[in-house]
Symmetry: D3
């Protein structure tokens, strides 16, 4: 894939995952470092969500799990919204967090479930 | 769910996930602490893999991801085998690890892919 | 232990550890997922704090240490209160954090000590 | 090095790294635990930044990297200021964060870059 | 405490915690970096285990917990031996690991219990 | 940068960092997943070590630090060799590990120093 194709593929993935508000917020990064912004779009989205073999919904299962496991709760909020946007149900998201309990323990799962509750409330 | 039902549900899940050899190895834990063994079966398997809403294959996507993220590579080997047993393809497993790169970085992803290569070789 | 015994044992442990206000806050989880609430009470408290061999004070030494090590500072605040409730002294809690420095480094220990200072102030 | 020399060396390093406001904030720790304060100054600064072989700027490259990797973002803010104070440029700091992407993934790097943007803004 | 007192206090703590064989192994570090060896003894043992307020047994509860939480299993083996040496029973150590399940999940607890089983076997 | 330029830049960086033996070992990954190999070379090396602003030696300071912090000790061994190859001295590497003690604690630093001792021995 050529480089501007990677970037375009990343932008397309971001449109499928995030609301316009979230994307505008993310673009703030461009002002701090245009190179970093390019990496986010091309490597962080184009090279991952632009691939086949797994659906966006399956990719969000992975993303939610790794964010819970590493305690990246600010990013988790945005990807909980993305998970709903690409078709995971509220029940499936709750079940992902419940499954994580056995692998990461209660503190991170409880924190994640609290944030999920807030995201579900906003999404009503 | 009553308590011996939790245990039975856990045993059943373990049979669906692991080969007899792997399960025999896991049972060694019973000798060190019967209480801990009971928790592994009832809480670690029964309370998680015994639930609905997500398939075993979806649960293994979560499990592989959290193990890669926390660098639990001994457990990862066993769950890579389980992932194949419950129907994830080699291509999907590789794709899970590739997706993780963007979230955990190359060191853990490289380590995971190396182990996956070994498990695929043994599974031939 | 039967399943409603696990739940009751968990509720009893939570009463010994936390103030009514904290417990009411925790119960919010019930609205997001009743199943997850049941796991918190039965597995997270009943199966752990409902056991013998270690006292509640010893269990809070473990809990504070793991929360500091994994950087779970929201949960740490609540368990610092619990630690005082089950009889650990301010001096012992400070000493736990000091001991952790050698094992997790200053950033997490400093963060923990700052929160401990706030909890001690509130507990006056 | 004698013990009061370790403490003095730590205080000197802190003066070279942090603004008076930041140092006054840090001294709050003295009220919670004078022993812990002594450890911060002597072990956390004197025994590390008081050594030779690496410059303060090189030490801040290490410090920023470990804080990003462990997700210690409160401490990161203070050390981003320190990094500027000891002569790392805005461009070099951005480059440190970009290099980290490959090793820790985007979530922590994005969080770090956002905080760096705020610190750069304040430092104008 | 003067500096050679810190070192002596550290050596004394190490004698109380570890067998002569283990200590001889640790001293290998002296050949790689005498300064690092001095830090291990003075800061890692003297400044921590040389303090009061908590007993050696209580300190090993903290040490075991943080090592399990961060997945430092090589160090865990040595401190499981130390825990037995300072009077923690096999039952208490098993209970520490069981308590950790709720906070760090099964993968790390299972790994820890396996190593504990080996250390108990060797200690017979 | 066009895509085959990213790949070429990555290969060039790998030649500057690693011995032919190490690179041959790394290429094994190509057999498991050619796509993953392309990401390692282009994103993991080309997009990072192929950039300016920081020297290879500075980049290895970052790399060593993040690997120590996340406990990625297999990768650490290879990058300790790379650090020597790009001009960091044995004394500087020891000093990086010593600086890390204050930020990650002794367990990871001790593990890292032991591996450094082995790498130094092999490099004689």
């Amino acid at each position: 894939m050529e480089n501007n194709k990677r970037y375009e593929s990343g932008l397309r993935a971001m449109e499928e995952l995030f609301s316009p508000e979230v994307r505008t917020g993310m673009e703030e990064m461009k002002k701090i470092s245009p190179d970093f912004w390019e990496m986010i779009v091309s490597s962080g989205f184009g090279d991952l969500y632009g691939r086949n073999t797994l659906s966006h919904a399956q990719r969000e299962i992975i993303t939610l799990t790794t964010l819970i496991t590493q305690g990246a709760f600010d990013q988790l909020r945005v990807h909980l919204q993305a998970a709903l946007n690409v078709g995971l149900t509220k029940e499936e998201i709750i079940e992902i967090i419940i499954h994580c309990v056995g692998y990461v323990g209660f503190p991170k799962a409880v924190q994640a479930m609290g944030i999920a509750g807030e995201v579900f409330e906003e999404a009503k």
